[in-house]
């Protein structure tokens, strides 16, 4: 070898054993489903397993097992004991971290580096954090004796399958609720492995129930009369549908929905780190991130410099086998998502945006899209307004800080924003004016269980994480 080219460095998949078929996790046991759908590795198209499609009867069973566990066991248990179960789960997740990381990457297509270094450590941290809350709820700022809802129905997306599970289950259990969770249709495997962790931890039967299947299962859960609270993460369209569905019932509802985050680079930014932040903002997890920095707003005076550096940096991005430890961008999660990304990119070109991608060979099998930036984009372009949920960045410019704020806020979304400047007062000024629930200054896409996460406007209702996130799991905790 004459040049320094990294040889393939695949993570071993021997650590995880995938069953040929999975049942539904109801009342502490796996129950075989009547019909099945395949779990596909999006990087290869390989069929990994068969997943059960839950029926309405299964939803009824799961909800009644959750109700039963709530009434007979979980609500009667001293909070300190509840905490110990969550600590147990956190520890088992740490022990089996590599297994979860490998399985997540196989099922989702995200790079092993991210599942290993970001997703799974955050999952364990989330359980560890909430375990500590279980016997301290009177300090959560929701009254002296906050009461759980009872049975929580949770519906989660495919972009961070296990992490989103943790974001729902950990606070729900810590606050004394029981839960029925539906993972996304294309990413069920780590949720089912988590069910095994619940068994290992000897969590009382029915406290956690996991139902796999398509959107019909989610709808049945949302509309089930014995579910007290719905926690949903997913698209804004589905979020609106759920909001309408529960309008009559008074069910508590929290929503984490879409975004079109502005990543704002002021001319006094630390440019090299800003370029890293741009890359991390839009190419982390293939851009399948609701809070992605998908709109780059660059001050005009440094546009060319930033773009030059960004393009050079993008040329270093390694796209390919998600199991390779050196891969930066993995596979698009599904053919449907790939089609959506292609459709919006085509619209970007039709509307006069200039598309650029580094030279980048895409694998033959599976679902892939190269890291892409669009320059010459204005607020009026679809790719500047609609969530693409893929590795596609729209580049816009601004002249003054005020103009940056106006453009950043000119969207129905309000989830995230980034600010890059070496001037403290400008950062605080911008942070005050940006209408977004999470603002990253001189960093991007950082998450922590102690840090509330959630959106303004059409990006959702309520927060997850931190003290603010707990309120959603109490009766009248904050937002009704």
């Amino acid at each position: 070898m004459s040049t320094f080219d990294y040889a393939p460095a695949p993570e071993s998949r021997a650590i995880v054993s995938i069953d040929s078929a999975y049942g539904l996790f109801i009342n502490g046991k796996f129950v075989p489903g009547k019909t099945h759908f395949p779990a596909i590795n999006p990087a290869t198209g390989e069929k990994l397993s068969k997943i059960s499609q839950a029926s309405t009867a299964d939803v009824n069973k799961a909800v009644s097992s959750a109700r039963n566990a709530y009434q007979k066991t979980w609500s009667k248990m001293p909070p300190a004991e509840r905490a110990k179960y969550l600590y147990r789960i956190a520890r088992i997740l740490q022990e089996r971290a590599r297994e979860f990381a490998v399985l997540e990457t196989l099922d989702n297509g995200k790079p092993i580096r991210e599942s290993r270094d970001v997703d799974i450590p955050l999952v364990a941290a989330h359980f560890f954090y909430h375990a500590g809350w279980a016997d301290k709820l009177q300090y959560a700022g929701c009254g002296d004796n906050p009461k759980p809802h009872g049975v929580v129905g949770a519906i989660i997306p495919w972009n961070f399958p296990l992490l989103m599970l943790a974001w729902k289950i950990a606070p729900a259990l810590a606050t004394g609720n029981t839960i029925v969770l539906k993972p996304a249709e294309t990413t069920s495997l780590t949720a089912l492995l988590f069910a095994q962790v619940c068994q290992q931890a000897e969590l009382p039967a029915g406290v956690v129930n996991i139902l796999t299947g398509d959107g019909k299962v989610g709808a049945a859960l949302v509309n089930h009369p014995d579910v007290d609270k719905i926690a949903f993460t997913g698209s804004t369209d589905v979020g609106k549908t759920i909001a309408r569905s529960v309008a009559h019932s008074g069910k508590s509802l929290t929503l984490e929905l879409g975004g079109k985050g502005a990543n704002i680079i002021f001319e006094d930014a630390a440019i090299d780190e800003a370029v890293e932040g741009i890359v991390n903002g839009i190419f982390f997890n293939q851009g399948h991130v609701c809070c992605a920095g998908s709109r780059l707003l660059v001050q005009e005076g440094i546009h060319d410099e930033v773009l030059d550096k960004l393009k050079r940096r993008m040329s270093q991005i390694r796209l390919g086998d998600p199991m390779d430890k050196n891969t930066d961008i993995g596979a698009i999660n599904s053919s449907e998502q790939l089609a959506k990304i292609k459709e919006l990119s085509a619209a970007g070109i039709r509307e006069g945006g200039e598309s650029w991608s580094p030279e980048c060979a895409l694998p033959d099998k599976g679902f892939w899209f190269p890291p892409t930036i669009f320059t010459g984009v204005t607020q009026a372009h679809r790719i500047a307004r609609e969530e693409i949920f893929g590795p596609v960045l729209s580049v816009l410019t601004f002249r003054t800080p005020q103009e940056a704020m106006e453009k950043a806020n000119n969207t129905p979304f309000g989830l995230s924003a980034g600010i890059w400047s070496e001037k403290g007062s400008r950062i605080l000024w911008a942070a005050k004016h940006l209408q977004a629930g999470v603002i990253w200054a001189n960093t991007f896409n950082k998450f922590d269980p102690t840090s509330p996460f959630g959106g303004y406007k059409e990006s959702g209702w309520g927060r997850e994480g931190g003290r603010h996130g707990l309120g959603a799991y109490f009766k009248g905790g904050n937002h009704d």
Binding site: M1, T3, F4, D5, P8, D268, D272, E276, D308, N326
Partner: protein, 315 residues
């Protein structure tokens, strides 16, 4: 030189230029360096990286206890790192104090290493606390004795006092002595500059003043060649090349002891300045113990079993 268009040589123009440099966010730089530290280099890539790293080593002894015997042993080792395996490349250079240059030159010439570069540390290394005539004499002596590379130190006191012009002028004076006789490496001693903003500024002062290489550390101060410091310096040479068309080398010195450390450095080079910097002409690693670890890893790659220090020579 083309840098005349960037500054006119006055302290005012130098300061004006330094003010245009963007800051470095410490957390971001460290995060980027840490991420690159997770790159996995295996098999053929690792074998290539080990030989590349050996060829970039400035094999160094900089002790008060250095003797002609010690220096001769070092030269022999540098020329033929593994006497049992002729496929092992020789190191990038031998690095000694200026009074040992003659010994090294003589010995290398005698054993067929007449074209192996000899680097001498000068300018009152490591502190640099001496008058300019002393620093000049130090450098002239080294070149006269046969040094082909000069590793000078900057005046960190002047830098930290904001006297960038003094730092610049000293480098320029030493550069004038070196022209067409020796390559100039300018040691920033980043452990004393402390912030990455300072590392970036000092890198540019050195490059504008005529450095052929910018070097992290003397090896006498800790921290030395940390990954983020090398990252910031690699960014500086990359951007300086874009600005001036001049390629400046980087030497990471101090604290790089294992093959793993060395390969992380190569990854930094590869993904920051780019593959064109992956040559001993543009990247060096100042080290002593590192070489044997590279040799042991090389044996492991060759023989498929873990090596023992008994099979590599201590000097």
């Amino acid at each position: 030189m083309k840098t005349d268009t960037i500054i006119d040589g006055s302290e005012a123009s130098l300061k004006n230029f330094l003010h245009t440099l963007p800051g470095v966010d410490q957390v971001g730089a460290q995060a980027r360096a840490a991420m690159l530290g997770t790159r996995s280099v295996k098999n053929a890539a690792k074998a290539h990286a080990i030989d590349l790293a050996i060829s970039m080593v400035d094999l160094t002894t900089l002790e008060g206890a250095d003797t002609p015997g010690k220096v001769r042993a070092l030269c022999t080792k540098g020329l033929r790192p593994d006497p049992t395996d002729s496929s092992v490349p020789r190191v990038g250079a031998i690095c000694v104090y200026n009074d040992m240059v003659g010994v090294a030159r003589q010995h290398l010439d005698a054993i067929g290493g007449h074209d192996l570069p000899i680097a001498a540390v000068t300018t009152a290394f490591p502190s640099g606390r001496a008058s300019m005539p002393v620093k000049i004499q130090d450098t002239q002596d080294a070149i006269a004795s046969g040094a082909t590379e000069i590793d000078m130190v900057i005046d960190r006191g002047a830098f930290l006092a904001g006297r960038y012009g003094k730092v610049f002028d000293e480098i320029k004076i030493i550069k004038d002595i070196c022209v067409e006789r020796a390559h100039l490496k300018v040691i920033l001693e980043t452990g004393e500059l402390v912030t990455y903003d300072n590392v970036r500024k000092a890198s540019y002062i050195a490059m504008l003043a005529g450095a052929d290489f910018i070097k992290t550390s003397t090896g006498k101060v800790s921290p030395a060649a940390t990954a983020p410091v090398v990252l910031v310096m690699l960014e500086a040479v990359r951007d300086f090349y874009a600005m001036s068309g001049i390629k400046i080398g980087v030497k990471a010195a101090g604290g790089i002891r294992t093959t793993k450390d060395a390969i992380k450095q190569l990854v930094l080079v590869n993904e920051t300045a780019g593959p064109q910097w992956l040559t001993p002409d543009l990247f060096r690693i100042g080290a002593s113990a590192l070489l044997n670890d590279l040799l042991m890893q090389r044996m492991k790659m060759r023989d498929g079993r873990y090596a023992s220090p008994q099979y590599v020579t201590i000097d």
